[in-house]
């Protein structure tokens, strides 16, 4: 059995205790909502996109340490990136979470930085949904912001 310390790395607990970019953004920022039917967690992502760049991003909602910290780290990472960069970044993250779709190109050279601490989640398959909740909700926000 994988140890609990694989899951609750210090950096994860840090983002859980002190989440970054928590809050809301007023319209015209896009707001999308996601939820995890298993545990009842929900999350809202606020996205301010202009000229193809993520200017600002915030999140609110309730969730476990994994979903909250993963979302917090995600917001830090994507702010300031172009939409294409963000999409490539999400693909790289999902690949780490063993969730790549068949034939989807993944740029392995992209560095995930702190987010690599979430790799341990893979050993706890039930929690993968927690770790990806914010990211999937972000993708929906991107779709909405760019349509």
């Amino acid at each position: 059995m994988p140890g609990i310390e694989d899951l609750y790395r210090e950096i994860i607990l840090d983002h859980y205790r002190t989440p970054r970019n928590r809050g809301e953004l007023p319209p015209p920022a896009v707001c999308t909502e996601g939820n995890n039917p298993l545990c009842g967690d929900d999350i809202r992502i606020y996205l301010d996109v202009a000229d193809g760049v993520v200017r600002d991003v915030k999140f609110s909602g309730q969730g476990c340490s994994i979903s909250q910290s993963s979302t917090s780290m995600m917001t830090v990472a994507v702010k300031g990136k172009t939409i294409e960069e963000v999409r490539a970044f999400v693909r790289r993250f999902k690949h780490m979470m063993t969730l790549s779709e068949d034939g989807e190109p993944v740029d392995q050279s992209i560095k995930l930085g702190d987010i690599e601490a979430l790799q341990g989640v893979v050993k706890f398959p039930v929690r993968i949904k927690c770790a990806t909740l914010g990211w999937n909700t972000l993708l929906e926000g991107l779709d909405e912001a760019t349509k």
Binding site: M1, G3, I4, L7, Y8, L13, L38, C39, G40, D41, D42, Q62, G63, C64, S65, I66, F124, R127, C130
Partner: protein, 413 residues
């Protein structure tokens, strides 16, 4: 070792359950998720194995010895179920795949035959999704009205508004015990109130039949349903009990083999009860396994099980509050006589999902989430809770193991 006031030897019972005597990573399994699904004793596993090895055959269709004896075993289990809940006749016992199918059967068959736009179905705020969604589907389709019995601040049904809610209602469908709060509802009284208002009384007995003696006649209910897998029996089979006259008058639900007496190109005639509601090949081995589970439970004694769970509740409530004080919030009644041994709780602000993960390190198995009762969760103001539920095989040691594991969770968060 099994709680000072318990009338049964849970430690001995536990030895009948292979998983409960097994270890994961050298540590015993502390199974506290029986409100979700229960473990299976040797006698049930063996009954199924022996049946598949020696007696498996089609039922109700073929006449050879093997088939006749399989049919006898299958129908014998039906008789055991009827007796277990004091039904009037085996015609009142319909085997479904689970309690959820049984609730849907009633909503589809009785509901579609009897409920029209504007008709009122009364539910409660503590229902499981299985007793909500089938009615909401009917609401979408037919425009029936749903009314909800609210809760009091001490997690009971608030009966003050019941007469108003029931006025003009066609159905009152409610759980005998909340799978989240542990609250045991006054089923007889609620059935009487339904009948006084001219409504049908449907009892979701999923959380009561496995844990205490059941007498459907004494309850005065019209329908009741429960699942084998929560009462030491196999997965894949549930029971719908209904008053014979009601079942007789209902249109069929699933169509196919066994539920017909005649099929022509231009139409079909239904079979007699209970075949009418058992379309297709039933869960044969599973029904036989349920029969063995009932024999097992009868051997222990349902009244003893209830006494044991009262003792477990007392112990757990006292021990947890004395060890953790305000750090633990238990969502449910404090009086062990008014509740089952199922405890939803919040602990030191740790998210239930994280909590269950940490408890799992000590092989303490609790469920974390909404427990298929999202409306209730919203009402008690939680997105999710952790839930520890005790059964006849749990001991005070299991409660202690839970508390110890909670301590270790505090170390991490």
């Amino acid at each position: 070792m099994t709680g000072a006031n318990s009338v049964l030897d849970a430690a001995a019972i536990r030895r009948e359950f292979p998983i409960l005597t097994s270890e994961i990573n050298g540590k015993p399994v502390v199974y506290l998720d029986s409100a979700n699904t229960s473990q299976k004793p040797n006698v049930v596993i063996d009954a199924m194995t022996t049946f598949m090895r020696e007696s498996y055959a089609p039922i109700n269709r073929s006449a050879y010895t093997l088939a006749a004896s399989a049919t006898e075993k299958y129908e014998g289990a039906r008789a055991a179920v009827a007796k277990f809940i004091n039904a009037n006749s085996t015609n009142e016992i319909v085997f479904t795949k689970n309690a959820t199918e049984a609730l849907n059967l009633v909503a589809y068959s009785w509901g579609r035959a009897n409920l029209q736009r504007g008709d009122v179905v009364v539910l409660t705020h503590m229902e499981h999704h299985a007793n909500i969604v089938p009615w909401q589907m009917l609401q979408q389709e037919r425009g029936i009205e749903l009314r909800w019995v609210p809760l009091t601040s001490d997690f009971q049904l608030d009966l003050s508004s019941l007469p108003t809610l029931l006025a003009g209602a066609k159905v009152f469908s409610f759980t005998a015990m909340s799978n989240v709060l542990g609250t045991i509802n006054p089923v007889e009284k609620l059935c009487a109130a339904a009948h006084a208002a001219g409504a049908l009384a449907i009892v979701d007995a999923c959380q009561s039949v496995p844990h205490s003696p059941t007498d459907v006649r004494a309850l005065g209910a019209d329908f009741a349903m429960f699942s084998s897998h929560k009462m030491c029996g196999p997965s894949g089979v549930g029971v719908l009990w209904g008053r014979e006259a009601l079942l007789e008058a209902m249109p069929p639900f699933l169509g196919g083999g066994n539920m017909i007496s005649e099929v022509r190109l231009d139409g079909f005639k239904c079979a007699e009860l209970p075949a009418k509601f058992e379309a297709g090949t039933p869960p044969i081995t599973e029904v036989v396994g349920l029969g063995a589970a009932i024999e097992f439970l009868n051997g222990v004694g349902m009244a003893n099980i209830r006494q044991h769970e009262i003792a477990m509740s007392s112990y757990a409530l006292e021990m947890l509050t004395s060890r953790f004080g305000d750090d633990i919030t238990i969502h449910g009644p404090r009086n062990p006589e008014l509740r089952g041994a199922t405890f939803s709780f919040a602990f030191r602000g740790i998210h239930p999902h994280d909590l269950s993960q940490v408890l799992d390190q000590s092989n303490v198995c609790v469920r974390a989430g909404h427990h298929c009762a999202k409306p209730l969760m919203k009402i008690i103001g939680a997105n999710a809770t952790a839930r520890a539920s005790f059964y006849l095989y749990n001991t005070t040691q299991d409660a202690d193991a839970l508390a110890d594991a909670l301590d270790s969770a505090s170390d991490i968060f």
